[in-house]
Symmetry: C2
Subunit: 382 residues, 2 copies
Amino acid sequence: MNSIISYYTTRFGELWDKSLGDLANEAFKGVLQNAALQKENIDAIFVGNMLAGVVEDRLLLSAFLAQLFDTNVPIYRVEGACASGGLAFQMANQYLRSNKNSTVLVLGVEKMTDVSGPDITKALATAASFDEQVAGLTFPGVYALIAQYYLNKYRYTESNLAAISVKNHIHATYNKEAHFRRSVTIDNVLESSYIAYPLKVLDSSPISDGAAALILTNRPDLIKKSKSAHILASETATDTISLSKREAIDTLKATVISGKKAFSCAGISQKEINLMEVHDCFTIAEILALEDLGFWEKGQGGHMAKDMVTHRDSGNNLIVNTSGGLKAAGHPVGGTGVKQIGEVYLQLTQQAGARQVKQHNFGLAHNVGGSGGVAVVTILGV
Amino acid sequence: MNSIISYYTTRFGELWDKSLGDLANEAFKGVLQNAALQKENIDAIFVGNMLAGVVEDRLLLSAFLAQLFDTNVPIYRVEGACASGGLAFQMANQYLRSNKNSTVLVLGVEKMTDVSGPDITKALATAASFDEQVAGLTFPGVYALIAQYYLNKYRYTESNLAAISVKNHIHATYNKEAHFRRSVTIDNVLESSYIAYPLKVLDSSPISDGAAALILTNRPDLIKKSKSAHILASETATDTISLSKREAIDTLKATVISGKKAFSCAGISQKEINLMEVHDCFTIAEILALEDLGFWEKGQGGHMAKDMVTHRDSGNNLIVNTSGGLKAAGHPVGGTGVKQIGEVYLQLTQQAGARQVKQHNFGLAHNVGGSGGVAVVTILGV
């Protein structure tokens, strides 16, 4: 069975002194070292990156990395906006399913802070549809429309959303690679500036630099000698790029479909998952994720969020975003999907250090591109 | 065994009245119709595209296409510069190797003529290394350095290169989808304007719009009822992005490695290949391809080119670029790798119409990204 045997992440944050190459190289070397492997042991590399072509004139990242890593193996660059990392992992898992005795490396990397705020916002908006771009909608605006709809429909207030941010910021205080390692209060969130009503600065994930890498293998000898987690499922689905073309805007159909496929493939149910990293690019997105993945009834998420039932110290059986999520651990877009799976791997294999929660057997990672145009759901087991 | 069962290509050219979506949609519908399949028969879509993010602010092409095609299946966008199409095919073949009874669609698409000449040249140069970009080197310049080196080393003249262009233009006269359907003479090529010495306008592939699509399956029932070609091998390798970091600049190591792997995987030798589409982005590149793939000794290609030994009417056993190649059939970058494989498929299955050559059993397609930072070699058989 395909297994993860190593993980490494750089710090996430505004890393002014690191280039895309520096970040990629640190993650590449780190993940090999953690596995006690050499680059010669790697048969192929899958790279998730969204923006290098747009913000730093760098396409053909595969050859750039081949030179940096001094290798001639196949390197695949996959782009699916903020799901680029999850997709790279999903393809790597496919690759292993058709190549016995193989070992592959998945790298997610993004360098976002070398351009201005407006420029990076515009670059991110290239993952929106043209009707949205032309209307001046950037991603905070798109998710704000979803949040308005959700709050109105189920009669919640902004404080229901704010609780997601508070929980994830608390989780991030345990994570030394997190972009933000400080807790915030409900009042802090509610008093922060509006970006697009009802979403405020503290409802939003930051613009981060960072890279994360995983090593996957189906070689029994490597699995045996490593702290390993099995890949029970990694599934993806697509949906319309335009919010306006959806049947319902408070459901991400790509999440629903990929989640169902992943649970079916893994042969387990929601009840058996105790640990998840979900795509909380904005606070509303974490609520939708739990609903769309079948953990909560539609409309129930606002209550659950406010009660912080997925807090690490809640005593409940489902903990969400132990890393701090995109919100507080940071969101270097190509890196995020890889980090999410890495966090689940660390927790399941009891390597999560200060943020380790109790032993669990199954974990899930959920990565979204755009406003839900693509989603990837991965389930790991030990 | 994985097989190709359908192919469709749009016209290649300056298609002012067609958008990227129009081209993608035409190829998608055309390839389904040629296979007498519905979109519901397709399990996943692999898309090769280089430039949509850079030239038209369109990332997350997967969701854009999901909306256009009205589907929720997995869609993977792969970027490897001018090898994007070949890589999408290579990944689709991997997918089928790990998914029984599946059918996938490969789409290569590029819309290049909506921006100015200098802008598209700059966009293409994002696949070069930073040292080359900073030095003002665009791809004609990079290949010109290779051509200068080659001509000097083996004591050839520009007319040796020109013969490649003449042959490919003749081949394109048989191809109704070609960007250029007129023949040129050696003198025409030699008298055309220099782009970067020794390469001239008529040594260079054009800036084209276009899309091409293939359907691949491992379902025996679909293979049986279709004109099908088996995928004997599809392999890729990487190399340095910078020309200056190579051991030799007249050898594309990525071609050498992927070629060797493909022949080994297919279990046949060069002698058994009678039909090839190779990556002639510039005339020199076709010569290097034949040498690097082991058909000609290094340095011999100049003579072979001048004698037009791979011309369709040469009476020899190896015909190269029956489509007209990138040079004359056109080079919509994401579309090229898919079109190359499609051309080999049509020829092997006797569906090539006016440009049909005699019956052959094996064919090869060779697709390159950048100045050789990545290459894909695919071998088909009937």
